[in-house]
């Protein structure tokens, strides 16, 4: 991760300087530079107008009575009108929406009450006039008002408060320094805020490589046989292993890939996975596996390469500290968590890891594990076909091109910020920045969905164009590694050339910006057929010449919201023009 400090502004009606100190001085990443807005000035700070803060993150942490004035009356047991309270919540949410244009992302804390504030006691949650009853409704209203606002995330400080224990709320801190929480809460808040920013910055892990014996089940399968493994049954350790498998399955359902690295005879291990009646994870749940007697670090490198993932996407879980140390030492990019000796802690240890969090959940994420299963089938087919051309034709690839729109912009932004290998310029933009960039008449953002006979890979390509007189420039050329090498790249260029021609451009230009990771993109451009300069970084196409769509790819556009129609390149380019799209 970049070591340049991330700037963050803390906006609150109480003193958050201690939180700022923790954010700046904790050694966990990202490094941060924190500024505390004048406390007690929440709304004026949110509504402030100034330019140039787009790279700054913000945390908005308020007490409910400061931004929802009528809640103060409820605190004093005065009758309140719930409708008025909820309208004040919506007004506060509107201030957040206004402020989001100034910040890259905002974390908005839900409201909490200190434990000593008992309200109506036994009836506090149940009665409409109870403080907790009102607070629940206020939080739901806030979440509802902000749930579709790009770049705004409502977070729950109750988790930080619980982690700090019984001294979480400190009246003494309030009277001495206008901080209602103990330092322990603020330390926990700093930890969670950093985790949230790592998520927003797109550093989520995507693959868990897991050991088998004494990690996925109890016992050594090669010694005791699959019938005698400790898994499920009326045995607390067996139940704990089953819960760990269930936790892995939960992450798989969220789109995290699973793979096996185990020192075993493969046939013996697969028999256990396939035949044990209580096995939660079956062989088809794993996107890759290396079950052999080789070094696990080498096996992990092979699995990651096979799945086209960088090692920074990998988590390795193994009960054996020697294996963990070996992988940590040889593959420092791989996250290797300390693993509990107590097997009953395995599931909770996995589920509390924040490295799998993502800033958006898209349908592509949820289907990712199935997509990789389809990819394995494609690879099998590739080995069976006489030539690559035969294989490409047999895939029956369909590429759908669509303009940037509210329904796809979250996924486009996500792909924009996490694609490394097939990425022309590796430009990063938040969803808000992307929409703003695309808002100019002389710019276009096109998204590409890819499907074939084995499945739907979803929205996996982005092409952005910048028109300037007789020149058109490809500002971004991005393709997920999941669909690289299936001639989708060439289909995207065919669309780019046609869009440039329709815009009246004479030349289509592209400038490659090298990074440590985008060599595959450069290799594609070098064989793309575009003219190139001596350095091989600037590419040009004379638009008068058509760029042929590869015959193995069928090009489509969405029509009538539901149906798809097959088109030629010229028709596709026309269909995604702003006038046609609207």
């Amino acid at each position: 991760m970049n070591s340049t400090p991330i700037q963050i502004e803390l906006i609150s009606d109480f003193n958050l300087q201690t939180l700022a100190n923790y954010l700046e001085n904790s050694e966990s990443m990202p490094a941060m530079s924190a500024k505390v807005a004048p406390f007690g000035q929440v709304v004026p700070t949110l509504l402030q107008e100034h330019e140039g803060a787009k790279n700054v993150f913000a945390v908005v942490w308020t007490s409910p009575s400061s931004v929802v004035p009528t809640f103060s009356d409820a605190l004093q047991s005065q009758p309140v009108n719930e409708t008025v309270i909820l309208s004040e919540v919506r007004l506060f949410a509107q201030h957040i929406v206004t402020a989001k244009n100034r910040f890259r992302s905002l974390l908005v804390c839900a409201w909490t009450l200190p434990r000593w504030q008992r309200g109506l006691g036994l009836l506090d949650l149940q009665k409409p006039s109870g403080l907790r009853n009102l607070l629940l409704k206020m939080n739901l209203e806030l979440i509802s008002a902000l749930q579709d606002v790009a770049g705004v995330y409502v977070v729950n400080p109750q988790d930080w408060i619980e982690a700090a224990g019984k001294n979480a709320h400190s009246p003494k801190s309030w009277y001495l320094s206008k901080t209602p929480y103990s330092a322990e809460v603020l330390k926990q808040a700093a930890f969670e805020i950093k985790a949230a920013l790592r998520t927003v910055l797109g550093d989520a892990r995507k693959l868990i490589v897991v050991d088998l014996d004494d990690t996925m089940w109890g016992g050594v399968v090669g010694d005791v046989g699959w019938e005698n493994l400790r898994l499920g049954g009326h045995d607390h350790i067996g139940e704990a292993f089953l819960d760990f498998q269930r936790a892995l399955k939960t992450l798989r359902n969220r789109g995290i890939l699973l793979a096996i690295a185990s020192k075993n005879d493969e046939s013996v291990a697969l028999q256990a996975l396939g035949q044990h009646p209580e096995m939660m994870l079956r062989p088809e749940d794993f996107a890759g596996r290396r079950i052999n007697w080789k070094d696990k670090a080498g096996n992990i490198v092979e699995i990651a390469a096979e799945l086209r993932l960088g090692l920074q996407s990998v988590v390795f879980i193994d009960d054996n500290p020697v294996e963990r140390a070996r992988v940590r030492e040889s593959l420092p990019e791989v996250l290797v968590p300390d693993w509990p000796n107590d097997k009953t802690l395995a599931a909770s240890t996995l589920l509390q890891m924040d490295c799998f969090d993502t800033a958006q959940i898209t349908s592509e994420d949820q289907a990712r594990a199935d997509m990789y299963t389809a990819e394995q089938k494609r690879d099998v087919l590739k080995t069976e076909m006489p030539t690559v051309e035969h294989w490409l034709r047999s895939l029956q690839t369909k590429v759908t091109v669509e303009a940037l729109n509210p329904s796809n912009q979250a996924r486009v932004a996500q792909l924009f910020n996490k694609t490394n290998q097939m990425n022309l310029t590796t430009r990063r933009m938040s969803e808000i920045e992307l929409v703003q960039w695309a808002g100019h008449d002389d710019r276009r953002v096109l998204a590409f969905r890819v499907a074939d006979r084995f499945g739907d890979s979803g929205l996996t390509g982005i092409l952005t164009l910048d028109f300037n007189g007789s020149d058109a420039s490809i500002a971004d050329f991005i393709l997920s590694c999941r669909v690289m090498g299936r001639q989708v790249e060439e289909a995207m260029l065919a669309v780019a050339v046609e869009c440039a021609r329709r815009a009246g451009a004479e030349k289509l230009l592209a400038e490659f910006i090298p990074t440590a990771k985008n060599k595959p993109c450069h290799e594609f451009w070098m064989r793309s057929g575009f003219d190139r300069d001596d350095a091989g970084y600037r590419f040009t196409w004379q638009v008068a010449r058509e760029y042929s769509r590869p015959s193995s790819v069928e090009l489509m556009v969405p029509a009538n919201g539901q149906h798809y129609q097959s088109l030629r390149v010229k028709e596709a380019a026309r269909e995604v023009e702003p006038t046609a799209a609207s």
Partner: protein, 106 residues
């Protein structure tokens, strides 16, 4: 379980003061962290804690004493910041003061 002394001596309290300093150091830049020693200056000549850090330190110290010795104390009383006799001058003066406070309560 650790045995909890009914009346902690100076030597019992000093490690608790160090623990609070250690916690406080996590809020400070690496090159500004306080060294755990009896003559570590908390307030006064040679000290560099700001008012917020002092507040945090007092609250933390009181919580730790409650947890460790079961005693509820108030470190803001008895002229804590007096240059001559204030108990917040150093780790040693603070440990001695806390030991006395708990003894008085017992």
């Amino acid at each position: 379980m650790n045995s909890i002394p009914q009346i902690p001596s100076y030597d019992d309290v000093l490690p608790v003061v160090y623990k609070a300093l250690d916690e406080l150091n996590q809020q400070r830049a690496r090159n500004q962290r306080l060294q755990a020693s009896p003559d570590c200056v908390i307030f006064g000549d040679g000290g560099n804690l700001n008012s917020l850090e002092l507040s945090n330190f007092i609250v933390l110290m009181e919580q730790l004493v409650q947890e460790k010795f079961g005693a509820e104390i108030d470190l803001t009383e008895n002229d804590p910041f007096s240059p001559e006799s204030g108990h917040m001058r150093t780790a040693a003066t603070l440990a001695a003061h806390i030991s006395n406070l708990v003894r008085e309560q017992a």
